[in-house]
Symmetry: C2
Subunit: 428 residues, 2 copies
Amino acid sequence: MKKSIFLLLGFTFIAGSLFAKETEAFPYLMPEEKPDRPLSAAVERNYDYLSNRPAQNELFTQFKYTELKGFDYNDGDGTVTRRDPSKVIFANGKYYVWYTFRNTGHKAIGMARAKEATDVIPSADWDLADIYYATSKDGFNWEEQGVAVPRPPKPQPGWRSVTTTDILVWEGKYYLYYQAFMEASGTRGDFCPVAVSWADSPDGPWTAANKIVIPNGAPGEWDQHSIHDPYPLVHDGKIYLYYKSDFDTRPDKKPTKVRMQGLAIAEHPLGPFKKHPLNPVINSGHETTLFPFKEGVAAIVQRDGMEHHTIQYAEDWVNFEIAAITELLPIAAGPYIADAFTDTRDGRGITWGLSHFTNAAGDWSRNHSILVRFDCDLSQDIHDDQLKEHYIKFSPEFHYSQGLSSQQLERIQNENKVLQESARGGGT
Amino acid sequence: MKKSIFLLLGFTFIAGSLFAKETEAFPYLMPEEKPDRPLSAAVERNYDYLSNRPAQNELFTQFKYTELKGFDYNDGDGTVTRRDPSKVIFANGKYYVWYTFRNTGHKAIGMARAKEATDVIPSADWDLADIYYATSKDGFNWEEQGVAVPRPPKPQPGWRSVTTTDILVWEGKYYLYYQAFMEASGTRGDFCPVAVSWADSPDGPWTAANKIVIPNGAPGEWDQHSIHDPYPLVHDGKIYLYYKSDFDTRPDKKPTKVRMQGLAIAEHPLGPFKKHPLNPVINSGHETTLFPFKEGVAAIVQRDGMEHHTIQYAEDWVNFEIAAITELLPIAAGPYIADAFTDTRDGRGITWGLSHFTNAAGDWSRNHSILVRFDCDLSQDIHDDQLKEHYIKFSPEFHYSQGLSSQQLERIQNENKVLQESARGGGT
């Protein structure tokens, strides 16, 4: 008797709990930790982000843009380009940045016309370029200092163009990694390996290692054609160099290629670099932009791929997850990263850097690129409510500037007509 | 002897395979299906999307915007607002849309000043509003037909304002669901339940059911305060009505609330509606915009939350996953959905609809909202390369319009100063 009452009470208690669990709605105050209750896939996922509210997410930010002072573009006639800035470093009491500089007297004729390119007529905007550098006291006003790494004589790697550089500081020395072109871009694609030069001072002089330090993959491998945007950081006592490659070229698909990012690791700046067996490690993005964040590394992933418009995070520096989705991300960004080379275990993040616009002219006939400053709050050290706003209103006029083409208007008119006719019992 | 040779050969074969697997790089031609090999988290995830290239993803699109003809906003002085369009339907040879219409003679004074609102002075932009409708032959030129559902007399649900309506067509009858305010928005928040009116024709007359059809949640439940943006579709022989609610109000956090979306299901348009036990089912977004797609349902998720700027998909109409990340998404969109109410098992998707801009005036003193047309390719039936472009270049000038505030400039100057001083061995 006693036993059966106990069982009955027990059963009632269990049934009551089950019933409560089935009917209880999600609470008004969102639990800080994932609650132990049935959750939709979306709410489940919301708890897997670094924070479950964008404004409290250290890796969510808006981006602000400011025109730079100090660079001359020859009235924007297309003969002068500055693009693909390196990370910004602080040394000798000032900021330094390196970048692709083209001053060819001729406009770039386009990759599609690469066969018409000559020793003085560039194909792509980054053809026949050298690596220049500039310094600044405030990050807004820059003084161009001149060439850092010029194109070496033929047949050394980069004789055609040296571009898209990035900086490493390692044991008191400076290393510039860069794309080393040995043909005009567009000849077969945008094919190149990576070379490196080093110096004892950020002001040079720079000594070319005169070798390919990150080679293209073997035929059939994802990075067989291009190693773009070499981007070195220091982690775990080693050089972690991220890079981008174009692959999966399929003439039947638009766009015809896929861009992803890989990782190569070395114990010394001149190599050998060992490519990570899980490459590619980032599935989207056009250029490489990363920075140490907490124990891991964060990446700005823009423009190309399924996960464009995101900030991603990899605690193990290899397996990246989406940390935030945002908008107006900087293109080819080179941030100022105080702890890029300190082998930090608590990366502080970034608040600004340089990026570029490749549509500076607004029309193809004067096409060239310009450097620009971006600001953001991807930092543990600042908390800027304005940069954490997740709802920026753009003007109606800006939206209208994204208007329909005449082909699209024609399609819509046809669809309307078909619908009208079917309503009248007509049919087509 | 033979056996040992066999074993040796076998071992060599296995070792060879392992070795190949360890050293083989990811192939240049991306396998169509997820390959059986070690993959980074990012590449693994890339295979989990509907397509592994954005341009081939039926749920990826750009959005184009076109100004509408036919609506008078009293020179944009803030006294007239049109916002929160319903889905667009096609009936009687023309398109129909319903929307929140405010013509108060007074500008909205703002939710923060709700206590000063009167019977003729609106608090929010959507206070003291009625539901109006318009028709169009082409989707660009609209003729306002007048009121559909006016505010009922006090104390009926919606006596203060009826807003943010959406349309259902069910067994030859038309149903308008709408937010039924019984206080000026801002009094305690944006609190309201949902009411419904029905008609035999899209031109009315409309009969109010005179009851709350989707009630607020019980105290302590996530949707206790607001049931916003009721959005009915037909699935599985039932009415699937999605809605948005604001919750997790925490005065110590900015923004102070979280917005998610829930689902309520009914067998009849007048209810009873049963809220889904896994609510909320969408973790982000500001307004509800969904459409049947293939066997499931897709959602445009904009503005608020961790997963803003996405198109999401739920094969089971409940558990949503990110299908695409995009930009410039339409706000409060009401698409034209040919198969919204056909209980389709192969939803065709959408190509256009109406949305709104709440910043039509550009300044607060004349603040009001306007309707706008958006176009997109979220359809199985069109394939528009331009709308599938994943890399839209906005002008440098547009970026500069997202500039730094004076407080931000001050912070940056201070940071530069600290860095300069520490470089000089100074310190602060």
